[in-house]
Symmetry: C2
Subunit: 387 residues, 2 copies
């Protein structure tokens, strides 16, 4: 297979939007295409991540209408759904179509109007990512799942719950801080530990500020063969490795403090790239809840198991730290329009590796990784990029 590069990225402002999913994606796509020094007619195929278009707008088949909206209706288009990992899954799939030589230039990304659903309805639709037979009927939704993860993590590693809560709050504070530097972030405000503690309780030990928001938004990426990429841009960002793995329903997962699907997915990406965790300069990962970021940094190999929360406390995951995590603000502050999140991660990694991130720039970043987690910890996609 041949080398593939990201030649352009785009995203809408994340937050609340009156635009449709198609319009949001078109906005992000046009930015990515323009940045690639290309035109819509150059796109040979479209790969679109979206989870709940049917519930948000009574609209499926979004990929076809997205292509039409940017003026290239007669190309192959496909919608991908892997819960919150949908955008990443779409991009990984786009990768193989270019790597194989079938296409030279394709458009991929995701779009979602999660906020448009309203919180109660969104919470219930999100829960459709859990098993409808054995889990959903118990009433467990995702905040509960990650609250359990926090309790189990604290017990497993002998960390007093109050200490873990403090470290979880530091994740939220860091990501909100990073988000202040991202012009397209959903939230651009600093928060304090008191803000976290004073926010409403969602599911013990998670306060509201331990949880990412529902967001509307879209992000898009143009992929090209390395040969084409070199002609289009001075700064191609190459795919080094990709990985993806699913998992069984939650009751069949033995230890949710370690997400086995993530460990398998990350290993695929590392092996393909010929790299190890110490080679990663920067990582955008799935901090849907603060405890999720801590657990992810361990499964991705940046910290030993049980050490992730200490790493946060030591500042190792800040911009300027040993392994900057979520310089974009992550799901917590940049926002979480679920089908778009993976594409927004690639947007950040591409911008970072090209040195275009201004105040949130991680100096000297040459290798970056994305990590997206979907549903009941049962859908993980990782991608490693290099310049």
């Amino acid at each position: 297979m041949r080398e593939v590069a990201v030649v352009g990225v785009g995203m809408t402002k994340f937050g609340s939007s009156e635009k449709s999913n198609v319009e949001l994606f078109a906005e992000a796509a046009m930015e990515a295409i323009t940045e690639s020094n290309l035109e819509p007619k150059d796109m040979q195929a479209l790969f679109l991540g979206n989870v709940f278009g049917g519930f948000e707008e009574g609209q499926v088949t979004l990929s076809a209408f997205a292509a039409a909206d940017i003026g290239v209706p007669y190309i192959p288009t496909t919608r991908f759904e892997g819960a919150c990992a949908s955008g990443s899954v779409a991009i990984r799939d786009a990768y193989i179509w270019v790597a194989s030589g079938f296409y030279d230039i394709v458009l991929a990304g995701g779009t979602e109007k999660a906020l448009a659903m309203g919180t109660p309805y969104a919470t219930r639709t999100f829960a459709m990512g859990s098993d409808s037979r054995y889990e959903a009927p118990t009433g467990l939704t995702f905040p509960g799942v990650f609250a359990m993860m926090a309790h189990l993590y604290a017990r497993k590693y002998g960390i007093p719950l109050e200490k873990l809560k403090e470290r979880m709050a530091l994740v939220a504070i860091k990501n909100h801080h990073n988000g202040t530097f991202h012009p397209k972030a959903h939230f651009r405000k600093e928060i304090t530990i008191q803000d976290v503690y004073n926010s409403i309780k969602v599911a013990e030990p998670l306060q509201l500020y331990d949880c990412c928001p529902f967001s509307d938004g879209a992000a898009a990426v143009v992929l090209a063969s390395a040969e084409k990429a070199k002609k289009l841009t001075d700064k191609p960002v190459y795919f080094a490795g990709v990985g993806q793995c699913s998992a069984p329903p939650l009751p069949n997962q033995k230890d949710i403090t370690r997400i086995k699907a993530r460990e398998a997915s990350a290993k695929q990406a590392y092996d393909m790239a010929g790299l190890s965790p110490k080679d990663i300069d920067i990582c955008e990962l799935h901090d849907c809840f603060t405890i999720a970021e801590i657990a992810a940094t361990e499964s991705l190999g940046f910290f030993d198991f049980g050490e992730g929360s200490k790493g946060v406390e030591a500042g190792e995951t800040q911009i300027g730290g040993r392994i900057p995590i979520n310089p974009s603000g992550g799901l917590k502050a940049r926002g979480h329009p679920i089908g778009a999140t993976g594409a927004a991660q690639v947007y950040e990694i591409a911008k970072q590796l090209r040195g275009e991130c201004g105040e949130r720039q991680v100096e000297g970043a040459k290798v970056g990784m994305t990590d997206t987690l979907g549903a009941d910890l049962c859908m993980v996609c990782n991608m490693i990029f290099k310049i």
Copy 2:
């Protein structure tokens, strides 16, 4: 890219089922895996077509749970949505992962519980495949779209509507006849022209018997590299060509008697295969309505434009005719569990090319084609197979 073959196929009985989407797919998958002389653990990835799992069962992320149900939870899995073409799109995508050399053996297919929704609800959810901004608000649903197609077709080619209705009825009669020989078909009963005429009017000139049913069901296919395939089976069925194309919303399509997305998709498949319509021995195509079959036979190149309905009358599309269309019974009689339909078409072509279809066998078939149409005539996928 290397050659890829279908080494095993499976499908559930189509019709009404109390099984879940996951259970249906698992049943079809186990049949396909067993027929391939493989075990679930040999599957390296899973590609699943499904359109409305969220509406049918409050379940998304179906691909992960489907993998878990057959005992291989920790593999990459993805759900594909391209409206009624979802199963075909999933299989075409699986093809590239094997053709590229990334995987050697993968599982693909689709599942749907369309009938479980009930007709009024299903009609409305199906309409989510049309544009939610400009078309859905008019109240137009798919029977109306294809009724318009029939009127336009009759006018364009100067065929009296009553004559066209008669020829459309012959499509239904043929497909029901073929379906009587398919043990897994939704309907296995002969119908007469009087049955068609006496059935309720759905949308002039379409009677109920001009319309395919909503069905529950699943179908699955195991794909393998040619090298692996030769070791697994004496009868590998090779991919010769694949094509896919989208289209803009209906109001932006100039002439719906010719589906431009289909013409583009079929051309891709023919060009890749180095074949032309006259080389096709047998075709499973998207007869969601009887007029749809007639239009499809023209866009795929089996008849000149305007001649398709005469071909039906002349018996050219029957088993034993010049170009047998839908020997399985098609969507009309085999049934239409939307996300599974494309996979059921591949099931039929594989069985036909292997000479295993008993009373519905098309003698000497060596090259077969599938054709699946999704949504507002805006999602088409074609695949050509050969032995």
